[in-house]
Amino acid sequence: MTTTTERKLTTQKAIAEAIAIEMQDDDSVFVMGEDIGVYGGIFGATEGLLDKFGPERIIDTPISETGFIGAAVGAAINGMRPIVELMFVDFFGVCMDQIYNNMAKIHYFSGGNVKVPVVLTTAVGGGYSDAGQHSQTLWGTFAHLPGMKVVVPSNPYDAKGLMIAAIRDDNPVVYMFHKGVLGLGWMTNNPRATGVVPEGAYEVPIGKANVVREGSDLTIVTIGLSVHRALDAAEALETKNVSAEVLDLRSLVPLDREAIVASVKKTHRLLVVDEDYQSFGMTGEVITTAIEGAFDYLDAPPTRVATPDTPIPYSHPLETWALPSVDRIVEAGSSLLVAR
């Protein structure tokens, strides 16, 4: 008799494992960033890698984001596959030129002759009172600027597969991990932050959304930690006899518009949930996609739950009120069905 145990990992350990697998197989892969060596990454994405690969390939940098992200671009142009960590996405302000004017545009300027295979990892998201310079998601900002893929895993399985796909991709990939899905010991976590992760290498294709819950009355489209808020809301809606489908986009660039349209055609109602700021962002883009592709199928105006257009506040009641919550999603979902 044999027993098979399905191995479980936290999202954070799944990311570190993906990097280790690719570093083992490909000598051109290396990691640099602040506190990614001895510390293992403030959010653990490089845990254990220094011991395995040494300081030549796991490189702690000074606090010098323009310098080391620009250096990642230069290394990538010259045949390397750097993974470079911007500790919090909020820090993009000190180095955005290297990201969007340089990393994202060189392939285009070169008419396709120069490849820039950088993976820019960065921690996103709030909910733990870190205030307005350490709590943003900003994926809409990055997705708006052409030339970078943008991926946001919501669970350990996807985190590993998307990281392997990102490292193997010949394009710049901004890999955003939400602190609330990492399974960190020092932060309240979603229970789904630990999950089954196969050993060995596999890819989750960048640009393919995932139906994480089937439903028939309503589609909730979301990404990152809000996938879990939406799943919790879907369970609550079930008790009100509302069957909600939850679509985890997993990538914003490329955006899986077909999956959005297909789900809306099936359920006829759309709610978009986004932890990023409401205006000019993901919610507007997803709703437009549904209107362009499934207008005649819609039984109610699409709606959205997002962070209002305000900096993320510090105090717990303020922040909790501002970020998308299960209650707000349930309320918006219920209203969509009343509106029929």
């Binding site: 051109s28 290396f30 030549e56 940098t61 000074p62 010098s64 323009t66 310098g67 080391f68 992200i69 620009g70 250096a71 990642a72 671009v73 230069g74 290394a75 990538a76 142009i77 010259n78 045949g79 390397m80 750097p82 030129d97 290297q98 004017n101 340089n102 545009k105 060189i106 392939h107 285009y108 300027f109 070169s110 008419g111 396709g112 002759n113 120069v114 490849k115 052409p146 030339g147 893929k149 991709d169 010949d170 394009n171 294709p205 960048i206 640009g207 393919k208 490329p254 955006l255 899986d256 518009r257 077909e258």
Partner: protein, 334 residues
């Protein structure tokens, strides 16, 4: 001059080629924009930053280069691209916005990228400096003895990217040569009004690396200093910072009234034109004679004309190809 004759001749030939290229681009740039200057009109639209006068900076490093060495340059890149041997036809075609250009018409004159030779430039001040640091990281990882040369103006030496890059390269002892092309003006602002110390080469001491000032716009002096800095980087002894006092003979961009530089300054500058000065010196020292110079001019002018003809006879890209080359490879879905 204790320099092999073939290097002196090569430097002079390249200076002639660069100057001719810049002069012809200038003529063609204005030919169809006058009498009423319209920046978007004509064969070459947009901003145009020409490097006439800065040739010594470029040709002085040229004999020291090896295949695979990387150069990152600025918004004023032609002299360096030509000196490194970037394909002149493709470079000209890119400037004219043609399909056959280095970037298929997507970059233009501030965004010239070449894989072989290994050249890139950028329209953002200081942006290329960290890129050279990364190139050097790749060279060291691959255990080659290639070096990365980062060129930037004296205006860029007040950018954070400059200081961050010097720190990183010094900290990690990387094979980078940082070269400041000091033409004394950041558009209209003189260095005296922008920089707290006279010589950026002195800033090297803040990072514990050699800093060398080349005080004259002389290709031989550049050759000597760059030879030492490149050799040092190649043998693994780390980065250097070189500042070269040079002259931008024309405006910041074509169409610049250049009223911020005095007539006296411009007269002095034109009198020390490095092309004329170097040519005279080669004759005086019997390295070349008048006939040699004439035949060098004929050959270089012909090469430049051929490149310009290639460019102007090349097709424009199909408009919808604007959508291509945003990403490499197959995209799952757009």
């Amino acid at each position: 001059m204790d320099i092999p004759k073939e290097h002196l001749v090569d430097m002079y030939e390249t200076m002639v080629k660069i100057r001719r290229f810049e002069e012809r681009i200038r003529e063609l740039y204005f030919a169809d924009k006058l009498p009423a200057f319209d920046i978007a009109a004509g064969l070459i639209p947009g901003e145009m930053h020409l490097a006439a006068g800065q040739e010594p900076v470029a040709v002085g490093m040229r004999p020291h280069l090896k295949a695979g060495d990387a150069i990152t340059a600025t918004h004023r890149p032609h002299h360096l691209a030509i000196a490194q041997g970037v394909d002149l036809n493709k470079m000209a075609a890119e400037i004219f916005g043609r399909e056959t250009g280095l970037g298929r018409g997507k970059g233009g004159h501030m965004h010239l990228y070449s894989v072989e030779p290994n050249f890139g430039c950028s329209g953002i001040i200081g942006e290329g400096i960290p890129v050279a640091v990364g190139a050097a990281m790749a060279f060291r990882h691959r255990k080659t003895d290639n070096v990365a040369l980062s060129y930037f103006g004296e205006g860029a030496a007040n950018q954070g990217a400059f200081h961050e890059s010097l720190n990183l390269a010094a900290l990690w002892n990387l094979p980078v040569v940082f070269v400041c092309e000091d033409n004394a003006y950041a558009i209209s602002v003189p260095k005296t009004a922008s920089t707290a110390i006279p010589d950026n080469s002195d800033r090297a001491s803040a990072y514990g690396i050699p800093g060398v000032l080349v005080a004259t716009n002389d290709p031989v002096a550049v050759y000597e200093v760059m030879g030492e800095a490149i050799a040092r980087a190649r043998r693994g002894d780390g980065p250097s910072l070189i500042e070269i006092k040079t002259d931008r003979l024309w405006g910041h961009f074509e169409g610049d009234a250049d009223a911020y530089r005095s007539d006296e300054f411009k007269t002095d500058m034109n009198e020390r034109d490095p092309l004329a000065t170097f040519g005279k010196r080669l004759i005086d020292e019997a390295i070349l004679n008048e006939a040699d110079i004439a035949s060098i001019q004929d050959a270089m002018y012909a090469e430049v004309e051929a490149a310009l003809e290639f460019a102007m006879n090349s097709p424009y890209p199909a408009p919808e190809s604007a959508l291509e080359d945003v990403f490499a490879g197959r995209i799952v879905q757009l």
